[in-house]
Symmetry: C2
Subunit: 331 residues, 2 copies
């Protein structure tokens, strides 16, 4: 294993410390337990937004803390959910009295740990609503999940719910907006290579030199099938079709098209995927009204990409367009 | 070779087309020859900025076209300089009558091709000044270069000269500011793995599983030496020390610290490098006044990172802070 790390047990703490130093104008780091909070803490009069989960998906979630997105992010160890006693202080730090929305990716550990943390928060008088993101159309009931997995669509939930909170919506309204994003966002990914978890020290699965895996999860969970290496346009079609089918997209509808890199794939290749995904959508009469391309919801050093499509309406578009100022996303 | 591409000869054109579609609010693509120009073309009354070079370093340079940075970017084929007839129309497209600054990384092919293009532009009545970026302290007179190589420091030159142009400085002043950045910026990189050029189809050099190469170039040119895999803090010290020595940084000075990924390295590892680089600078009494961390000047899928330090003064800091709105950098 070759990585730019020191002792494997220090990876998350050192990376988060570097992150907090580099973005001290936006975030603060808290320790014991470790989490990241918007600089200056919870904003008076604003619903708080908290997300978290296992590390290894950077910039998700800490990179999305800041104006118009999250108030706090809780990083677990690599690919391992943070425990309830770890989540609770982040919920408390994000609460200004108007309640907190917890955004949870649908993995068994995350769901259970957030549930317990939310019960504890409730006992402390913090009102918490939850939205569970399950946008991955590839598989149901996989290695880590009952139901569908939460993947890159989480970014859209955090961005749009964050904008709703920033404009002053109450907790019920922010949660309803988040749920509306979840209902309208779908993703599917492909892996060219496996990722290497630092404390494991070797690739998390074997993928032959001449094969790719369609429908991969962001922890390297099995996808739908392995196929011989194929042109990007063909692979992209295998990602776009199931997403479009599952969303039941029809001609004339507007979408956000988000092509996400898994961490080890160059940006130039993501634009090749974007190009074909856009052509396939436009061939169906779907209007690509908004776009995002980059490594945002990653899987350590995995080479691969995912395609996320969010059905837009005027309100979701306006919330997507609303100002955001975080380490990883800003406009 | 596993990449998300179609035919190797179409890689650059398809990637640039996807890029231009995704960022149609910021850029326009021109074809025959292929280049990217700021949406709406040259800005009346503003000095134009043009850069370019071989592809494979994305988001450099096209990702930096937009308000406060470049007016046009010329992508060659992968790791190959664009020819003069390819550069000339980009120079013309960036000129509003106040002249154009060409920002050229110091590689023999780029320098020669830009020189010839600039002679042709001169014959067409376009005034062009040139700044050659040679920030890499690792080696002199390498495989592709007489003198030092131009690497990640190019981003700082483009950002700061772009801000000077945007505020209305004349060509001589913009060129002088760019030269001042070049005089005060230094970089050094490390590779954990080689990159694979699409039309070659295999890694561009052999790097054993237990070694890293210190002082690597952004095309995989040889560095200073190979060492056994070491902790990130030790490797970072091997990058920071030569940079600091070469800049002759002294206690009390302020700098921009830019940790750049080579394309295949996860963001989490770049923050581990940033953390140690910052500590080493602060140990010397150097003030890290500004920071940037991410994959900006890459080498296809290479795993590795570089450390860039720019000595700041009040004016360079103000120009760094000035608004920028491009695909890859915005604030």
């Amino acid at each position: 294993m070759k990585k730019l790390i020191n002792a494997v047990e220090d990876v998350v703490a050192e990376s988060v410390e570097g992150f907090a130093w580099a973005h001290a104008d936006i975030v603060e780091m808290r320790t014991d337990p470790l989490f990241v909070v918007r600089r200056g803490g919870a904003r008076e009069g604003k619903v708080g937004l908290v997300s978290g989960g296992g590390s290894g998906h950077e910039p998700l979630h800490a990179g999305f803390v800041g104006l118009g997105m999250l108030d706090a992010a809780v990083p677990g160890t690599v690919f391992t959910s943070p425990t309830p006693d770890h989540v609770l202080p982040a919920l408390a730090a994000a609460d200004s009295g108007r309640g907190v929305l917890a955004i949870v990716k649908n993995y068994t550990g995350d769901v259970l740990n957030f549930e317990t943390a939310i019960e504890l928060a409730d006992a402390d008088g913090i009102e918490v609503a939850t939205v569970v993101v399950d946008d991955d159309v590839a598989v149901k009931d996989s290695l880590y999940t009952a139901g569908r997995r939460g993947v890159a669509g989480t970014l859209a939930v955090e961005k749009i719910a964050g904008a709703a909170a920033e404009r002053g919506d109450d907790l019920q309204a922010v949660a309803a907006t988040a749920a509306r994003v979840v209902a309208n966002v779908r993703s599917m990914g492909v892996a060219l290579t496996a990722c290497t978890v630092p404390h494991v020290g070797r690739p998390s699965f074997d993928l032959p030199d001449d094969e790719v895996e369609i429908g991969i999860g962001i922890h390297g969970e099995p996808g739908r099938r392995r196929i011989p290496v194929a042109p990007a346009d063909d692979i992209t079609a295998m990602l776009v079709e199931p997403v479009v089918e599952d969303l039941a997209l029809t001609s004339g509808e507007s979408v956000l098209l988000f092509v996400n890199g898994m961490g080890g794939t160059p940006l130039s290749e993501l634009y090749v995927v974007y190009r074909q995904a856009r052509r396939l959508l436009e061939d169906r009469g779907v209007v690509v009204a908004r776009s995002l391309v980059g490594n945002y919801v990653t899987s350590l050093d995995m080479q691969g990409a995912s395609v996320t499509v969010l059905r837009l309406d005027d309100e979701l578009t306006a919330l997507w367009d609303a100002p955001v100022h975080t380490a990883a996303l800003r406009w």
